[in-house]
Amino acid sequence: MASRLWASRAASFLKISTFHRRFSSVLKDLKYADTHEWVKADGTSATVGITDHAQDHLGDVVYVELPDVGASVTQGSSFGAVESVKATSDINSPISGKVIEVNEELSSSPGLVNARPYDSGWIIKVEMSNSGEVSSLMDSEQYSKFCEEEDAKH
């Protein structure tokens, strides 16, 4: 972490763009969207968050805009946003349904999205309207390859 910080500062002084080449972690039992959200299905409900790849590229999260409980979410559409490094970035739902719970902890500790993106950094829980949508998402292997290809393009 310290060496990365030094490298980033050196690059900034020398006016060079830096590129992230660390390998982001993925979990085998999750499914992934190409917009870098993960979902863990449990029967008809599902937990959603953003991936390690996403949080690493976004930077330190300082604010999470959460939807209201009861709000509808649609696969591929935005339901909230995270703020990091002067930017708000939309969070898109990997599945459709109704929000049954939001992670209130993120209001006081938005950094959980960075520190623990796959457990205590979860963002919403959804009662799915079409559990079949989960099968259209990427598994861990496909997602890892997707991230590598995306990073290699830039």
Partner: protein, 262 residues
């Protein structure tokens, strides 16, 4: 001269040279049909005086089509209200599929603009702001709090995610790209650089910037404090999160402003 274009009224305005024309929007910009009928011409700035951007970044429409590159529409405004400008930007971000560069030379009234998560009690001197009736706006992008006025130059890029070859649509790469672009223009003035997410000349903050990234597009907007009234800075509190390079500066350097004349 006024002429109808796509059903909306635009006022023709002479651009910086006599070889091209820029249609400047006057009046209401709330009509969504206006956006779809807007036609702007890009021009190589190389031979124009007063151009603000490096000419190599711009291409004529015919040349751009020949090489298959996306176009960048330029909207140049003068003293537009910052609230109207933000409305326009969010509308273009969410409803247009074109790339845009918006330049607003000053805004019509001193206004405080906060980021999406800004808390007024932490960021502004509420008593004096209310007493002096300074408008306060919460914008849709991230970032900190600025107070803008007629001396502020606003520059905004609204782009599709694949518009810039090799640019990853994340905050730091976007900031790096815009920083390099501005550097090409502003290096002639001083030691301009992107430093810990601020645009600076040396140790002096010259401009803040903020972004919003959606599924297919991103916006990056900057308020350059080309000139400012130092008394306005008294309306702002010191932010909780201060970049390290500013921790050692005096109060005049914190919160904005340039240390050398432009």
């Amino acid at each position: 001269m006024k002429r109808r274009l796509g059903g909306d009224i635009f006022q023709k305005r002479e651009w910086v040279c006599n070889q091209c024309t820029l249609y400047v929007i006057k009046g209401s910009i709330d009509d969504r049909t206006f956006v779809s009928s807007l036609r702007l011409w890009l021009h190589l700035y190389k031979n124009c005086s007063g151009g603000g951007l490096n000419s190599s970044r711009l291409m004529t429409i015919s040349r751009a089509r020949d090489v298959g590159l996306p176009l960048m529409n330029i909207v140049r405004l003068k003293a537009m209200s910052i609230l109207q400008q933000l409305h326009l930007e969010e509308r273009l971000l969410r409803t247009s599929s074109d790339n845009w560069c918006i330049i607003n030379d000053g805004t019509n009234a001193s206004t405080i603009v906060m980021g999406v998560s800004g808390k007024p009690s932490e960021l502004i001197e509420l008593e004096t702001v209310v007493r002096d009736r300074i408008p306060v706006i919460r914008r849709f992008t991230g970032g900190g709090t600025v107070i803008v006025d007629g001396g502020t130059v606003f520059v905004t890029f609204i782009c599709n995610k694949d518009a810039i070859p090799g640019l990853q649509p994340y905050p730091r790469p976007i900031m790096s790209w815009t920083g390099q672009l501005y550097g090409e223009v502003l290096q002639r003035i001083g030691d301009f650089r992107l430093r810990e997410n601020d645009y600076v000349f040396g140790n002096c903050k010259f401009g803040g910037n903020a972004q919003s990234i959606t599924k297919y597009r991103w916006i990056h907007h900057t308020s350059f404090l080309w000139d400012y009234d130092v008394r306005n800075m008294a309306y702002l509190k010191q932010p909780i999160r201060v970049p390290e390079y500013r921790l050692a500066t005096d109060k005049a350097g914190i919160g904005g402003g340039i240390c050398i004349s432009a």
